[in-house]
């Protein structure tokens, strides 16, 4: 079973040279720690920076320099700041090649829910709806099940949706899945996790073809 950092590490293997990448709050943020050697990517944060760098050295933090999670950050050489309309022009206009975000639920037709639990939690969607509606390439980083052990990889989402038919790939603590016509295609297993365990933790239709390799981290 993968830790949150290992989920991020596996997603980082998907990065390709020259990509602009938007990382959501939570596990996705950790992807920046695992950029493979020789791969040149630039991170976009939708509050208005391209070329986001690591957290600032203690004592140099600047209230005017934050990411979409409101964390203090730095700007790398070549970075640029812009307004929110320009930022979402980059996103809607598909100038950003990869979006990585978290989810509370995903369904096998590629729907995603991650912004609201009716009656319990209503924080808002932020930029998530714009991101999922437009991105060509979306990877969801999430735990396979909730704390009670119930699957979050579903036939149909039960929570209010963030976007429809948009998720292509999912990396969980148990597996790498691809959303295909017939359901969730199992691509890789987490080290030490069996196909049966993944099957048990998946409520949606799981497609298993041939031997499923273990992830390499």
């Amino acid at each position: 079973m993968l830790s949150k950092s290992q989920i991020a590490q596996r997603i980082a293997q998907e990065l390709q040279n020259g990509w602009y990448v938007n990382l959501g709050i939570g596990i996705p943020t950790l992807v920046a720690n695992y950029i493979p050697e020789g791969i040149d990517v630039e991170f976009q944060s939708e509050n208005g920076i391209l070329g986001m760098g690591p957290f600032p050295v203690e004592g140099t933090e600047d209230a005017d320099l934050i990411n979409a999670g409101k964390q203090t950050i730095t700007a790398l050489p070549g970075a640029v700041f812009f307004d929110s309309a320009t930022s979402f022009a980059m996103i809607r206009g598909q100038h950003v090649q990869l979006t990585v975000l978290g989810a509370m639920e995903v369904s096998q037709n590629g729907d995603i829910a991650n912004w609201k639990i009716p009656g319990k939690m209503v924080k808002g969607m932020g930029g998530a709806m714009d991101l999922v509606a437009s991105a060509d390439n979306i990877i969801v980083a999430m735990m396979h099940t909730n704390r009670a052990g119930a699957s979050k990889i579903l036939k149909n989402c039960s929570l209010p949706l963030t976007g429809v038919g948009c998720v292509k790939k999912i990396v969980t603590n148990l597996a790498v899945l691809e959303v295909v016509k017939e359901g969730f295609k199992l691509i890789e297993r987490a080290p030490g996790v069996s196909v049966e365990e993944i099957q048990q933790a998946t409520e949606g239709d799981l497609i298993i073809e041939g031997d499923i390799p273990e992830m390499k981290l």
């Binding site: 004592g59 307004d83 309309a85 930029g127 998530a128």
Partner: protein, 232 residues
């Protein structure tokens, strides 16, 4: 053209209960701190506030929420604020949550004379309820309308008395679009200079969008999530 006013009191003259206000900022970054304090002093109520976030409990728009001055919030993300959540769940506060990119574009459209536009964001979700759907290039989009405000209140790093503005870092965010969409736009700046002192090549918001400008003071610039790495 001289847009300079003496202070925040003069800048906020004419703001009345029941008005619609736009307030720049993302989280607590780039918010008009001086003007928000003045709105508390003025004790105007029944406000509709268009702002990406609602501040935190004891800072930013949270100060207006505590005094129940806001009737309705139009925002994209309102976490980090317990009083907000309480007022929303009890029904005291009307809340219209809209995708962040749609919010930004609706403000931009309001300032640019575009009454509405189609966007894919929110299609198939609660956000699309009651909105026209139309397909372009085989993909469904929803119709979103422009937003304007009686007053737009923005915060910039530097400005000149002609109303030209320069923002710093990610404090720019919603401020430029909101400046365009206010019937009256108030800009508060950390440093107010004379015309000619700002390089025209480096101005972000043109003075034509700003009606009143003043030198702010005592900026707290609170950080919500202080994340750092150790020295060496």
């Amino acid at each position: 053209m001289n847009k300079k006013v003496a202070n925040v009191e003069e800048a906020c003259q004419g703001i009345e209960s029941g008005m619609t206000l736009m307030l720049g900022g993302f989280g607590l970054c780039g918010i008009p701190e001086n003007s928000i304090s003045e709105l508390v002093n003025l004790n105007v109520t029944g406000l509709t506030c268009i702002s990406n976030n609602a501040g935190v409990d004891d800072f930013g728009l949270g100060l207006l929420l505590q005094k129940k001055q806001i009737k309705k919030m139009i925002s994209s993300y309102v976490g980090e604020n317990d009083e907000f959540e309480r007022q929303m769940l009890s029904g005291e506060l009307e809340v219209d949550l809209i995708p962040q990119g749609s919010l930004a574009e609706r403000c931009r459209a309001g300032g640019a004379g575009i009454p509405a536009f189609y966007t894919p964001a929110g299609y198939g979700t609660e956000v699309a309820e009651g909105k026209e759907v139309r397909e372009f290039n085989g993909k469904p989009h929803i119709l979103e309308s422009a937003l304007t405000a009686d007053f737009a209140i923005v915060k910039a790093w530097k400005g000149d008395t002609a109303g030209n503005l320069v923002f710093k870092g990610t404090a720019r965010n919603f401020n430029p679009m909101m400046a365009m969409a206010g019937k009256i736009t108030i800009a508060e700046v950390e440093e107010l200079v004379e015309p000619g002192e700002l390089n025209p090549n480096e101005i972000h918001t043109a003075g034509i969008f700003v009606q009143r400008i003043f030198q702010g003071k005592g900026y707290e610039k609170r950080i919500e999530q202080r994340t750092v790495r150790p020295k060496n």
